[in-house]
Symmetry: C2
Subunit: 545 residues, 2 copies
């Protein structure tokens, strides 16, 4: 287990927010002051006591379910239903704080193996019960919202008991159960000296099945590959039966069924086995901060790195606003704002953009790769800030969602969204989304912070990841959020960017699927679903189907 700071949490997350119930990430007075300066007054909110939370009464479930998994594996306690009543998007967190859940699974069903999954799906298809496959519950796009659709009830099919693990040290592959959390998979692999290298911000709680179902990408995906690159074979149990792809490094036998299962977001069936490519765990890691003159200069550096095959394994360029705010808010970049300002004044620069670069591997090769990257960074006018900002980034790499809860408590709306485009159009996309969020904030009458970073760079383009913060509108949080989110999404699709680079579609991006894949593309997905899930029980209301 390489990344992250403290011990890995193992229990369930807070029912009302992100992560370890024992942990919070309090904002300092400086940061609060800065937010007040920029955003004006905000009305703080409280988390209601769990006893006051209201869930819909559980509906009766068919007897057949009990014979599928045994009575012990069906849980109907409110505390358990509550934990699977949604994911961790801003709207999810707002609903939790309201104390009223309009939807919740009627039961949590915990299959032990793929045979039990098949039996559950069979019973549910016959009895018209919707099924939401549930891993870590970390979706930020409404991907696990427990909608029954037209069915008589809905269950959360919790896969955390399915944690098989076998490793093939010769082929550097591993067969993983869908219920393994990121840290669990890494711990098992590290016993063999290996790593998967997949570290999204949700790493501590998200599961292998969820990574596959959503086409996850991690902070080090430039080095290790996105999760879809890591999947060598996959098995899914659909209501129509099992589907599996061969354990072979590549095949040219027709359209890639693997790529239909990856990204299927629980709409076609339940992912039961994921075979992944693994690597020897890096013996050395080195994370650094650099500062680029401005966002365009920084992006040009990242493009050059990517096209030269010299991309650090972690490469993340913040725009001026994100650079400034993140330094001010949490000191995660390891430099005090005053120190940075002084440094930049010294060099007669302002509006600089922070670049976090990280290399992982064997010492000698790492140093060589770093020196190739450093040459390109310097040619592009970037200045090294040394190891401190890199270390601070690595220390705080999974902290963002904790911070979000703090911001919500302080009375702020905070949301992230992400897209990607080719290098020739990323600047247009950057401007369009920025402009759309700015004018939506204005027409909503709220001040706001809009910040962005470029990450997940490729030879042909990169992703853009936005964070926006505004004073929340008590009682109208969701409408407020929707106005801002829609403005950004519409700007993305108008510019030809993708509606999601790695958060998936879920409920929130469903309206934009026609722009993404076209009406015929959606029809093709519908045809797939009709074949694999003829009763339409799988994860209703997601993906726009």
């Amino acid at each position: 287990m390489s990344p992250g700071a403290g011990p890995i949490p193992s229990g369930p997350m807070k029912w009302w927010g992100w992560g370890d119930p024992a942990k919070r990430n309090e904002l300092g007075e400086d940061a609060r002051g800065m937010l007040r300066d920029v955003l004006g007054p905000a009305e703080s909110t409280e988390v209601p006591p769990i006893e006051s939370v209201s869930l819909p009464s559980p509906r009766e479930l068919p007897e057949a379910l009990r014979s599928a998994v045994g009575a012990d594996a069906i849980v109907t306690a409110d505390a358990e239903r509550l934990l699977r009543a949604g994911g961790k998007s801003y709207p999810d967190l707002v609903r939790a704080r309201s104390g009223t859940f309009e939807v919740a699974p009627d039961a949590v069903v915990l299959p032990a193996d793929s045979g039990q999954v098949a039996a559950v799906l069979d019973a549910c298809a016959r009895e018209s019960v919707a099924v939401v496959p549930f891993g870590g519950g970390t979706s930020v796009v409404g991907g696990v919202d427990p909608y029954a659709g037209s069915h008589r009830a809905v269950i959360a099919l919790d896969l955390t008991r399915m944690r098989d693990f076998t490793v093939d040290p010769v082929s550097l592959t591993a067969r993983l159960g869908p219920g393994l959390r990121g840290p669990e998979a890494e711990a098992l692999l590290s016993e063999h000296g290996m790593t998967l290298g997949h570290f999204p911000q949700s790493f501590e709680y998200a599961t292998i099945g969820g990574f596959a179902a959503t086409r996850s990408a991690g902070q080090a995906s430039a080095g290790y590959g996105r999760f879809d690159d890591l999947v060598s074979a996959i098995e899914m149990v659909s209501p129509a039966g099992p589907l599996r792809t061969l354990e072979t490094p590549h095949t040219a036998a027709g359209p890639a069924l693997r790529e239909l299962v990856v990204g299927s977001e629980g709409m076609l069936g339940v992912i039961t086995v994921v075979s992944v490519r693994v690597r020897p765990a890096p013996r050395k890691t080195r994370y650094e901060g650099w500062i680029a003159e401005d966002f365009a200069a920084g992006a040009e550096i990242v493009r050059t790195l990517a096209q030269a095959g010299a991309l650090p394994d972690v490469t993340r360029l913040s725009d001026p606003e994100e650079t400034r705010i993140s330094l001010a808010m949490s000191g995660t970049a390891g430099l005090k704002r005053s120190a940075l300002d002084a440094y930049l004044r010294l060099r007669r620069r302002t509006g600089g953009c922070m670049l976090i670069c990280g290399w992982e591997g064997e010492a000698e090769d790492l140093e060589r790769r770093r020196s190739v990257s450093a040459r390109i960074l310097r040619s592009g006018g970037a200045v090294s800030l040394g190891a401190a900002p890199g270390k601070a980034w690595a220390h705080g790499r999974f902290e963002g969602p904790y911070l979000r809860d703090e911001l919500i408590s302080l009375g702020y709306l905070v949301e992230t969204l992400e897209t990607s485009h080719t290098w020739s159009r990323y600047e247009e996309l950057y401007g369009a989304v920025h402009g759309a969020l700015r004018s939506a904030l204005e027409s909503q009458g709220t001040p706001g912070i809009v910040m962005c970073h470029l990450s997940h760079a490729y030879r042909d383009g990169a992703s853009l990841y936005y964070t926006f913060i505004a004073p929340s509108r008590p009682g109208g949080e969701i409408e407020h959020w929707r106005a801002l989110k829609s403005a950004a999404c519409e700007a993305i699709v108008a510019t030809g960017g993708t509606i999601t680079h790695h958060h998936a579609v879920g409920r929130d991006h469903a309206p934009y699927m026609p722009a993404e894949v076209g009406e015929l593309g959606l029809d093709v997905l519908r045809a797939l679903k009709e074949r694999l899930d003829p009763a339409g029980i799988m994860n209703p209301g997601k993906l726009g189907l």
Copy 2:
């Protein structure tokens, strides 16, 4: 334009065999003698005069086709129908030499753009005419055989007029028409200092559309990526309408429709635009020969190279038989057999295996990468044979199919087939296919040569590429071929290897699709086809649908 020896041919191929009608690749007397020694006598065959060739009479085509493309773009001359009557598999070549074609397209239709493609498909769907998309006609698996299926006629939809080309030098991408041949695309890219880096053996004649439709892999795919890795976006016109994926480096928006179009082998529609990732053309190339102690030792070296990220851009390991035969047959390895023998005797080795390694890129980086690879090669016990075998390989890299025609003329059956597996099972696969071919040759009562090379190595496995040669059975060539081919295919599926790593499925591998993707997998492909091609006009009889 980097690779290959002489000028690039631009006209149609020989109607009866491979490549430039003005060119042949005659075998020397030494090589013929060696074949006689190993395989016994063979009965040479002749190519019949074109005047004596018999094609089925063309069926009447609906008037609507003429309004779709204009009368000029519909060709019914026998000489043109003949050129699209099949691909270039061994059975195709045997049928050509028989002088009798049982199937041929009723017309060759040449659309100018995607609008005309849509109009053709529309007319054909209404009038029940089957459509075989036709690019270079280089399929070796029966992928373009003009079957009408249950329809009243069949056309070859020749895409060679669709040769659009635009390049995005910032994003290093290019939008290519499906009708561009490999060398044409490379010539256009080289005007911008770029390369696609895709060089399969069929390179001189195969087209961009065909590369995408078949999931092609090239000789330098270790360095540049397989063709499916190179495709960033794709457009297809299906009978149900157009399908296009976004021009973005990556998306997490659901199942990957791009990966359904790539590999669709003309079964779902016609690929009309392929956006690809390109690279700066390498300024330097270096190809070398090495000799490994035996196949297992060589494979272990290639695995180490792949897993260390130190794979040469071209990496190809011949087994002892291929090493011996290819040296004897053509001297393509640039060393006389006697010289090699002397060399190996000197080092007390026998049964060595030739490894061709090629690096492409900038001088300094190339030398560094070469020295990393060389260290691993030497640690694995390989001995350098210097540049001569590498240069000879590069010189002859597209010559194999010419040689095949010579062998057929001399009276030999010659066929290739390919598969892949993980490193932990490749040796089992190698033995199983080898054994199956050996016993099939024995039960057929024919002596034979069975040889293999390992190429397209990955971190998790590699492909195996077999060539087998036997005296052909006059009048019973196809049955003889089928017995050998089936034995190999059955051994592959029994070992869990893929039925094709890069030749695609076509007609020949269709029976093995249930083993490859399962009955439900096939059903999913059928559902896709029913949605996109409800009249079932697209390329009947391929992919097992």
